[in-house]
Symmetry: C2
Subunit: 157 residues, 2 copies
Amino acid sequence: MTNALHLDVPAGAPWIDFTREFDAPVAAVFEAHRDPAIVVRWLGPHGYEMVAERWDFVSGGGYRYVHRDPEGNEYWFRGVFHTIRENAFALQTFEFEGMPDEVALEFLWFEDLGGGRTRLRGRSVGRTVEGRDAMVASGMEQGMSEGYDRLDALTAG
Amino acid sequence: MTNALHLDVPAGAPWIDFTREFDAPVAAVFEAHRDPAIVVRWLGPHGYEMVAERWDFVSGGGYRYVHRDPEGNEYWFRGVFHTIRENAFALQTFEFEGMPDEVALEFLWFEDLGGGRTRLRGRSVGRTVEGRDAMVASGMEQGMSEGYDRLDALTAG
């Protein structure tokens, strides 16, 4: 991979920072976050089926979806969109319903690098350092990395 | 004041913790957060007029309001409600529109102390330690303290 996921998990802070570049224009990367028919094709780890019960990618909107693993186990997630600015910025809450009220606040900047390339830059802030650490220990990096690899393939194609 | 505001602003962390007790049942304290006609009577510092353009205190709802100082200067705030559980819990985003995208995630627990008394316990998590520090430097403690004094008077009355 030339476009690897870079994850920064500073000790003692409740947040995770990341960057991931794509060989695709910012409008294509943004649309792949806005359109639920595209989102379900890339979000989450390999081998999981995603079904979006709701996906209103607008300021004041919200979402709820399930990831189903090959054994049929279900993992539900939900949140609200505080701000969505086209081709520029998304700010949402994020909750794994298996850990109720352990909600994170997720900032996502869509940066136009020119030449049809885009950088995603994100910060996810948890309620506690321990909650942040638990999220990392759950395999978050692999899930993100695999999801962004699929997004890469979708937007390059 | 027997029911003082206790604020904890730990160095190097992006959050603020607080507690405030009330000589009122938890249902009354919760209702004073749910009903916008009551909210506008207590939220914010003394001497400001509050007008709620929107206040849907339900999971997935949202709010926007203005505080007007005696000189007529306006300060707008907005956010979304991720979770509202009656007489128990509220989780919302919070943005001062004068500092766009510096959004905080606010957790608020309504605790029934018995004997018709209630404890509010809150955590506000900012995007950065610097943003948290700027919020504190802006006079947040005095504004909260004055607002909760009015809430005290309203719910005791």
